[in-house]
Amino acid sequence: MIQLKTLLTCIDNSGASIVECVNVLKKKRPATIGDRIVVVVQKQRAATSEGSSGTALANKVRRGDIRHAVVVRVKKELQRADGTVVRFGDNACVLVNKSGDPIGTRMNGVVGQELRGKQWSKILSLAPVNV
């Protein structure tokens, strides 16, 4: 249930750590896993946390940036076609650019399998675990 003002954690290495949803795209209802949303970066990660290896890579986005994102985890339980229900401990997203490619190059954290059905396999392949 991601809607206006929802705070999500950003789990990629684009530089954002906490983002706020300002719009749900292509939908009149709250967003769930696999939905595209518009977010504002509220908190950015400390640049040093990205490591000395890629300082140029760190923090592609800054606080106050408006970006598109894809929801990858939701607290609201989600029922699948075979009757299993999945619920995550938090709301999380991954920033993407206008054409739908992820801005970050790495992801940390589980993502929902619903991304596969919604043609986000690029994100799914970046994720370490999917449930």
């Binding site: 009757g83 999945v86 938090d90 999380a92 954290g109 589980v110 999917n130």
Partner: protein
């Protein structure tokens, strides 16, 4: 009554002219309305009217135009007696196809079967399509064909809960990785969601079990 119209200069003349005419008519009307007369009773047609007189009757009164009796059909036989508990029947038939040996049912019937999965156990579910899922059993909902169990685990430091239907044909196997260490006094362990009681990740325990199982199976096959 007559006093009022006379106050008007010209209207008085008209009222005088009309007055004698009106008063008697009102009296007669009153007399008519107060006379009570019973409604005349309908005279039934005499029974044996000769046929040559029937043509004199109005058409609706003739015997051939009398109202026909409405045909009443008996209700169909009730299905209630044939099948007293249809829901149980459907459940039974579904279980027959999904769980012919009754193993799954026994595995989760924690009220009767002492060897079944119980809340607090760590369980590994293998799916036919997709990755296996490990977790602590928080609750088992016994609901006939909709029986399900709720697993909780922590993956990459994020809590994940999954409710799985027991008779889901996508499930390949359900294994008990570890029994609850202490006696659990509740049927629903939702308190394990709170930070104080959270088991956190059980992935290590499950992986150790898988390794052990593999070693055991491998040793068995070599001999």
């Amino acid at each position: 009554m007559a006093a009022l119209p006379t106050m008007r200069p010209l209207g008085c003349l008209r009222s005088l002219w009309n007055a004698p005419d009106m008063i008697p008519s009102q009296i007669t009307r009153r007399c008519l309305s107060t006379v009570y007369s019973q409604r005349p009773k309908r005279v039934p047609l005499p029974q044996g009217v000769p046929e040559q007189f029937l043509s004199q009757l109005p058409t609706r009164m003739r015997p051939e135009n009398a109202p026909k009796p409405i045909k009443v059909f008996n209700p169909p036989p009730s299905a209630r007696k044939a099948c007293t508990d249809p829901v149980a029947k459907v459940t039974e038939s579904q279980l027959e196809t999904l769980d012919p040996k009754g193993e799954r049912k026994a595995l989760f019937d924690y009220r009767r079967n002492p060897r079944s999965v119980r809340p607090g156990d760590i369980v590994r579910v293998t799916f036919k399509n997709g990755d296996p899922f490990n977790g602590v059993v928080l609750s088992i909902k016994l609901r006939g064909i909709d029986t399900s169990f709720l697993l909780r685990n922590e993956l990459t430091r994020v809590a994940v809960e999954m409710s799985v239907k027991v008779f889901n044909p996508n499930i390949q196997s359900v294994e008990i990785v570890q029994r609850a260490q202490r006696k659990i006094r509740r049927a629903r362990l939702y308190y394990m969601r709170s930070r104080k009681h959270d088991r956190r990740s059980v992935e290590n325990i499950a992986n150790a079990y898988v390794r052990q199982k593999k070693a055991f199976m491998g040793a068995g096959s070599r001999k």
